[in-house]
């Protein structure tokens, strides 16, 4: 029978430093394992998709231009050190973070609009990407300049005592900042708590947006740790009632047209035909392009990019060529490849053959404002052109829906003409 040992530690700390070293090492290993695991979960899939995308020439132009234009506003923001963190974060997580999915303009009505598409009223305001990370939130415009640098109730969006969420956590939202009620309307969710939603369908992204945004308190009124209110927008399935609701329904913001999103499309940066914008005078103040004083231009203007070979292209991928600048003109005006140039569409207008651009009567006006970083897209030029000549009306949209409904309802035996 072993005698019961009575001795207890006397004048000694409960654990030895050696044990402490062991435990601290184990703790360090556990943390690093968790970080590695998180990194694998958050990044691997989006990194793959980012790599494939960044090879596209159009995107490259965008990326290269961003740092030039962002240096100035950042210093003005007066919080350089904090901003460094966010910048590091967003670099780490892909420069792509600053790039947005850009809807094409609706120049014809897609098939199966009522089945495969969502619709919602676009808030008027500045389109921006909002990144919350490391205890602060930054919104950037399309050209990369900072709109606001602020604390928010988004995950990791403010330095608060609440430490829910790891340091790796961050969010990227696609928003429109609506000036009059100082609200960020969230129109899409790109990353949430570090998890990428790039490769998720719009259907899932909108579901996630609606269920997650509310939880954070980001939709609450502004406070010390939450400078701007965030708000989701009402998104409808694009059937007749959804289309009508988004067109005529009351919203707390000024509308600027309707946005259509294909339910199955992933979040794809740059121009995409799987998201579309459509406007008319009833739902937007900005249907036809205006000059800086708000006057409708007498003639349609386009912005095109000058290429190496003197050709003038849109921002699409692949590009659409609208014409060519004479080498002499280029030299005289001191133009370089990559410059964005503004043109009038003169009396000759656009010549279309089978719905495709054949010829454009362009008249060179000059270089565009430096803040501008993209040429116009083909669909924008065409939409502006149509608005001035044969606009796509709301009735046309409605009609296409009832038409497709009709087609669905047709008895199938009528097709059996074999």
């Amino acid at each position: 029978m072993a005698p019961h040992d009575l001795r207890r530690p006397f004048k000694r700390p409960a654990i030895s430093d050696q044990q402490r070293r062991r435990e601290l090492s184990l703790l360090r290993q556990t943390h690093h394992r968790r970080d590695a695991q998180l990194q694998a979960r958050c990044l691997a899939s989006s990194v793959l998709s980012l790599q494939s995308r960044s090879s596209e020439p159009v995107s490259d132009v965008g990326v290269e231009l961003v740092p030039k234009s962002e240096s100035l506003p950042e210093q003005e923001s007066g919080a350089l050190t904090k901003d460094l963190d966010v910048r590091q974060a967003s670099r780490l997580k892909g420069a792509e973070a600053r790039k947005l999915m850009l809807p094409e303009w609706m120049i014809d009505v897609p098939d199966r609009l009522s089945h495969d598409w969502y619709v919602f009223a676009r808030p008027a305001g500045k389109r921006c990407i909002v990144v919350s990370s490391n205890g602060t939130t930054v919104s950037r415009l399309r050209n990369g300049s900072i709109l606001h640098h602020f604390p928010s109730a988004l995950p990791c969006g403010a330095r608060t005592r609440d430490v829910s969420g790891s340091a790796q956590s961050y969010c990227i939202l696609d928003c429109i900042f609506h000036e009059s009620d100082q609200t960020y309307y969230v129109i899409d969710m790109v990353c949430w708590r570090g998890y990428s939603l790039y490769d998720c369908t719009a259907e899932f992204r909108f579901f996630w947006l609606n269920s997650k945004l509310e939880e954070t308190g980001a939709c609450g009124p502004p406070s010390h740790y939450h400078k701007f209110r965030f708000s989701p927008v009402s998104i409808y399935s694009c059937d007749q009632s959804g289309l009508l609701a988004s067109y005529t329904g009351a919203v707390p913001y000024v509308k600027d047209g309707l946005l259509f999103y294909n339910k199955h499309a992933h979040y794809q940066t740059g121009n995409t035909p799987l998201a579309l914008v459509w406007k008319d005078e009833n739902c937007s103040q900005y249907v036809i392009d205006t000059d800086s004083k708000g006057q409708v231009l007498s003639q349609q203007q386009v912005v095109l990019e000058l290429r190496d070979d003197g050709k003038l292209s849109t921002s699409d991928d692949p590009v659409v060529i609208f014409g060519c600048l004479d080498g002499e003109v280029i030299q005289m005006s001191g133009l370089r490849s990559g410059d964005l140039l503004k043109f009038d569409i003169s009396v000759g207008g656009l010549t279309l053959v089978d719905g495709k651009l054949e010829k454009a009567d362009l008249h060179y006006l000059g270089k565009v404002n430096r803040a501008r970083i993209f040429a116009d897209s083909y669909s924008k030029v065409m939409f502006q052109h149509m608005v001035r000549h044969t606009p796509l009306k709301f009735e046309d949209l409605l009609a296409s829906i009832s038409l497709s409904d009709d087609q669905e309802n047709k008895p199938c035996d009528s097709e059996m003409v074999g």
Binding site: L6, P13, D17, Q18, R33, A36, Q37, R41
Partner: protein, 872 residues
């Protein structure tokens, strides 16, 4: 041979080495040639009253060692060997040994008792030897005293050996009846009474049912209490040991007896012999342990119905208990601070006082302070020391509100005493008390700081001065400095108040480590531990000074490695120093390696450090290996992919570490370092993976390796898979079946006891981390489909874990993450499988609404991944 056994057994104990060796050799041969006959002749020898007691005793001992071993795998082999023996042989052996209990030779009886217990330990769980208890207890009343004593002793050993669930309640009742009767004051033979009392100590764990019965419990308690008053000191001591065991096993049943027990213990503490008094104090320490645990659980989130309620025995006994304990403090021994093994009534009383303070908090302060104030300035050192010890004891437990005003007054007094008191013992306790002040009342969590700009310098001066005192005082001063530094960790206003003294402190600690007498009172260890803590708590502005330490410590390590022709004592000391130096470098690497500003400059030392660590592996010291290995792990993290240049040289030591079953700590740490290296090297670890995986798989299949190493090995599979991605393919066919069978085992083996549940959960966590790493490692690879066949099992495992409902938070978090990883990697192909699993519905939903944000976060990830997978 059988006839010669006696002589061989006697020769085996001979003084002459050659004779002894020869005898041992023949015993070994005999055992190997014919085990049954060997064991039979041993049993016969033990039972034979005509043989000399020396040979009988050794025969019993060899028999016992043929049935049991310390190492788990050896023990298992011996058990199997016994069970497979011919049953007639076994019966004959057992009958010989039972017969020995009637022998007049005490040593033969006692040895037989132990052999019977070992046999019972093997046979009872297999439902064999059912007649044993009955045979022992039949006509116990008619037995002669010496046989009765042996029988009771045997019952005690049996209770110690077997678990309570293999003895049926009827037998338990009979055992307890016999034991308690043997303890009774009516038993006139002291040997019988002592054997019975000691047997009760072991049988208490069997007495759950009897302690729930008021009459039976009353009877047992009365007999135990009476035995504490027996004239024979050994019986009193054994009876108090029973009380201590009862205090922890049956705390909730003690209320009716606590007053009587207090009286008995108070009397014993006051006037009984020391071994008895120590047990009496231990009773109250043990009650404190119980109540601290219960109150801690009250403070936690658990309010389950099954919890034992707190009876606040300590709080109620406080007014009498505290004076009793304070009295003991004055009974110090002259040299107790120099003697590592010392344990006396003053030490036990002081320790108990500290536990009482933790149990009752503020209430103890007014009871102790008058004693402190009265004695602390007395000319007799015992009084000053007791007063200081009393004050130091109550610094943990009471609230800072209560203590800070007292400490503010006492601090200055203590600093003066540490410098000027003529008695080493008083200085030792004073330095310890200062350490306790800093440990519990100094730091970012305490609102009103006891250390400010005004006294900080003085405190440091005194401690540094005191570090030049005799070793035991210097050791306590190092300890105080340890907690002083710790308190400034995470404290907001940088620069740290220690910054101005940093250089001086480091210098003083290094000087201490070089003292001639640094080997006494573990002074050297204390100096390095404090240096480590000072480094850990240092801030950016002292990083350059920490950096200056690197070449210094490296130089010392280098010198120890150069030392030649050492005596074994010197070598032992050298190895200890090497371990300490590696530990110190490890702390520095962890500190400087994680600082972005200084990491780059620090890395200039990486080559040299690595060179030294590799040389440490050439010496023979498990502790030094362990420390060097940990340091290398930290270095791998700090160097990142560049670590690859060390791999060719380091690899063999890594492999050696993974093969070190004996010092399983080294093995466990090496497994962790493999993980570090995976994360540092990522794909570059590939060339070494064949070797590492082979070794890890061997480790897993070994039954010699301590089980605690297995969960980290599974986690390590995950680390490797994450690092090498689809190249893990070739290990799938080995790793996956092991994971599967471990997974199946881990679902069902839980719930036996707390230790087992904890182990099972750590095993599950390891398995899940392996799955997680493997799935994530393959993500995006064209070989993803190789994992498809394993998906059903993984999902099934998750489902069963969910059904078992006994996962801890960690396992829940990892498990739900694995669900996400599986969906993320396998995508749409696994969609239907995932949708069929319970985990993807109920488990996921439970985790999504968890309060634990880590679980919730993992669940959100899983949901996202599943939704993606299903929508494809």
């Amino acid at each position: 041979m059988a006839a010669e056994v006696t002589q061989i057994l006697l020769n085996a104990q001979a003084v002459d080495g050659t004779v002894r060796k020869q005898a041992e050799e023949s015993l070994k041969q005999y055992q190997e040639q014919n085990l049954s006959s060997f064991l039979l002749s041993l049993a016969g020898e033990l039972a034979n009253d005509e043989k000399p007691v020396e040979s009988r005793k050794l025969a019993g001992l060899i028999l016992k060692n043929a049935l049991d071993a310390k190492e788990q795998h050896r023990k298992f082999e011996l058990v199997q060997r016994w069970l497979s023996l011919d049953s007639a042989v076994k019966a004959q052996i057992k009958s010989c040994i039972l017969k020995t209990l009637t022998s007049h030779a005490h040593d033969a009886r006692s040895t037989a008792s132990q052999v019977i217990a070992k046999l019972a330990g093997i046979e009872l769980p297999h439902k064999q030897w059912p007649e044993l208890i009955g045979a022992l207890l039949s006509n116990i009343h008619q037995l002669p005293a010496h046989t009765k004593q042996a029988t009771l002793e045997t019952l005690g050993y049996i209770c110690e050996e077997v678990s309570s669930d293999v003895v049926e309640q009827d037998h338990v009742n009979k055992i307890l009846t016999a034991v308690v009767q043997g303890m009774n004051s009516s038993e006139s033979n002291n040997d019988v009474r002592l054997a019975a009392t000691r047997a009760l100590y072991n049988a208490l764990g069997f007495a759950q049912a009897n302690f729930s019965n008021d009459m039976e419990r009353d009877y047992i308690m009365r007999v135990v209490c009476e035995a504490t008053l027996c004239p024979e000191v050994k019986i009193r001591q054994a009876a108090f040991e029973c009380l201590v065991a009862i205090s922890s096993t049956y705390y909730e049943k003690l209320a009716p007896y606590i007053q009587d027990i207090f009286n008995i213990t108070a009397k014993a503490v006051k006037e009984d012999e020391e071994p008895v008094a120590l047990q009496a104090i231990e009773f109250w320490s043990s009650i404190c342990d119980e109540e601290i645990d219960i109150l801690e659980e009250y403070g936690g989130d658990f309010t389950g119905d099954s919890d034992i309620p707190c009876f606040y025995f300590i709080k109620q006994a406080l007014p009498v208990l505290v004076p009793m304990l304070l009295e003991t403090l004055l009974k110090q021994e002259e040299d107790q601070d120099q003697d590592e093994g010392a344990w006396n009534i003053a030490m036990a009383g002081g320790t108990c006082l500290g536990l009482v303070a933790r149990t009752v908090g503020d209430d103890i302060v007014p009871l102790v302070m008058p004693f402190v104030e009265e004695n602390i300035t007395k000319p007799e050192w015992r009084q000053r020391e007791a007063a200081t010890y009393a004050f130091g004891s109550i610094l943990e437990g009471p609230s800072p509100d209560k203590l800070v005003p007292l400490v503010n007054i006492a601090l200055n007094f203590m600093l003066t005493a540490l410098m000027n008191d003529p008695n080493n013992h008083v200085k030792d306790t004073t330095a310890w008390t200062l350490g306790r002040m800093f440990e519990f009342l100094h730091g970012s969590t305490v609102e009103t700081p006891i250390i400010n700009q005004a006294n900080c310098q003085q405190i440091i001066n005194v401690l540094l001065q005191s570090m030049k005192d005799v070793p035991n005082v210097a050791e306590k001063a190092c300890g105080a400095l340890y907690f002083l530094a710790q308190g400034y960790e995470d404290m907001e206003p940088t620069p740290s108040p220690l910054t101005p003294f940093f250089q001086e402190i480091v210098q003083a600690l290094l000087t201490v480590s070089h003292r001639e007498d640094a080997g006494e009172s573990r002074l050297r260890t204390a100096a390095y531990e404090t240096l480590n803590e000072v480094v850990r708590c240092s801030t950016d502005e002292t990083a350059p000074m920490v950096m200056q330490l690197v070449p210094l410590i490296m130089m010392e390590l280098h010198q120890t490695l150069e030392a030649q022709k050492l005596t074994s004592d010197e070598r032992e000391k050298q190895n200890e120093i090497q371990g300490l130096l590696c530990g110190c470098l490890q702390v520095i690497i962890q500190k400087l390696g994680s600082s972005e500003q200084i990491r780059y400059a620090f890395m200039q030392y990486a080559d040299q450090m690595m060179g030294l660590f590799l040389r440490v592996f050439a010496i023979r010291s498990a502790t030094a290996h362990e420390e060097a290995m940990l340091a290398i792990g930290a270095l791998a993290y700090a160097t990142g992919p560049d670590f690859v240049k060390y791999m060719s040289e380091f690899y063999k030591y890594l492999e050696m570490g993974l093969q070190n079953f004996e010092d399983y700590q080294v093995c466990a740490i090496t497994v962790g370092v493999v993980g570090d290296i995976c994360r540092a090297l990522e794909a570059k670890i590939l060339p070494y993976c064949d070797g590492i995986m082979t070794q890890l798989l061997k480790d897993l299949s070994s039954n010699q390796l301590h089980r605690s190493v297995k969960p980290p090995i599974f986690s390590c599979f995950g680390d490797i898979a994450l690092a090498i991605g689809e190249h893990f393919e070739k290990y799938l066919m080995y790793a996956m079946p092991m994971l599967q069978s471990a997974a199946e085992l881990s679902v069902h083996t839980s719930g036996v006891d707390d230790d087992m549940t904890e182990y099972t959960n750590s095993l599950r966590n390891g398995i899940l981390e392996a799955y997680s790493g493997i799935f994530q490692g393959f993500k995006g690879s064209p070989k993803t489909q190789l994992l498809m066949p394993y998906a059903p099992h993984v999902l099934q495992f998750l489902d069963s874990l969910y059904m078992e409902k006994d996962m801890d938070e960690m396992v829940s978090k990892t498990a739900i993450g694995v669900l996400g990883d599986l969906a993320d990697t396998l995508g749409g192909n696994a969609g239907p499988l995932i949708q069929q699993s319970v985990s993807s519905k109920d488990f996921l939903n439970e985790c999504l609404s968890s309060d634990d944000h880590m679980i919730k976060e993992s669940a959100e990830w899983a949901k996202l991944a599943i939704t993606k997978a299903i929508s494809f």
